[in-house]
């Protein structure tokens, strides 16, 4: 079982290549918005989703992806999908 800190750190590793706002990345919290705070372009948000699927070996359906605009929502979806495994 991963702790919340580990999950955030895994997620930070995943989003790192796509961020366009270093300050937002350095001060990342659960409230951080991928698009507004990290300036990840929306096409790269697709890569973030695919990278999460690869890293955690889960499948994120479109309805789950729908809410995936910030760190908190992403963590919740990962946890839900992991618990369903």
């Amino acid at each position: 079982m991963r702790t919340n800190e580990q999950m955030i750190s895994d997620l930070k590793e995943i989003v790192k290549p796509y961020i366009q706002n270093q300050h937002g990345f350095d001060s990342l919290t659960e409230e951080t918005d991928f698009i507004n705070d990290l300036k990840i372009n929306s096409a790269n948000l697709v890569d973030v989703v695919l990278d999460i699927e690869d890293k955690f070996d889960i499948e994120i359906d479109n309805d789950s992806m729908d809410k995936m605009l910030n760190v908190k929502a992403a963590l919740e979806i990962i946890e839900t999908k992991l618990s369903e495994k």
């Binding site: 372009n41 890569d47 992806m65």
Partner: protein
Amino acid sequence: MQRIGNDIVDLKVAATESNWQRKGFLNKIFTAKEQEYIHNSDNKFNTVWRLWSMKESAYKLYIQQNAERFFNPKKLECTIFSENDGQVIIGASSFSTSTKGNDSFIFSTALVDKSTTVISCDFKIKRGTQSEQTYDAIIQYFAQLTGSKLSKLTIHKSTNHIPYLYFRNKQLPWSISLSHHGTFGAFSLIKN
């Protein structure tokens, strides 16, 4: 109130930032019908980004009407009518899109009523301060168009990140949309 959404894609930058051939990529973004457009296209890369810009422009218009943001590209479905004209359906909403472009960029605008008069402009920008340059471009254009004093014009974003033009801190009855990507910027405006 008539509203507008737009989106510009720098094709050189898109080619380096995204790998559309990555496993799972197309399937996360495009419906079966849209994937058909791509597979049947002579220039798959361009078709991917044309459809993407259509979706983005329609999404930017849609969230002005329905405050809730979402990330679900397949909730939007494109129909291509011609090289320039298209349509995007989101739930019960339908938007007309107009797309132009060349080897360097693709630029789409979305409207509810396609007979609306739109002013759109695309331009080259330097990387680093793209949003500032896009703001400056629309403000300078608008000052000239309306004879308004440049120093009194500003742009503020609503809590939902939708930009509006202001003159002497008063919101103007125009709908605008701003976009930038890589070395291209664009703005669109309609008068209400």
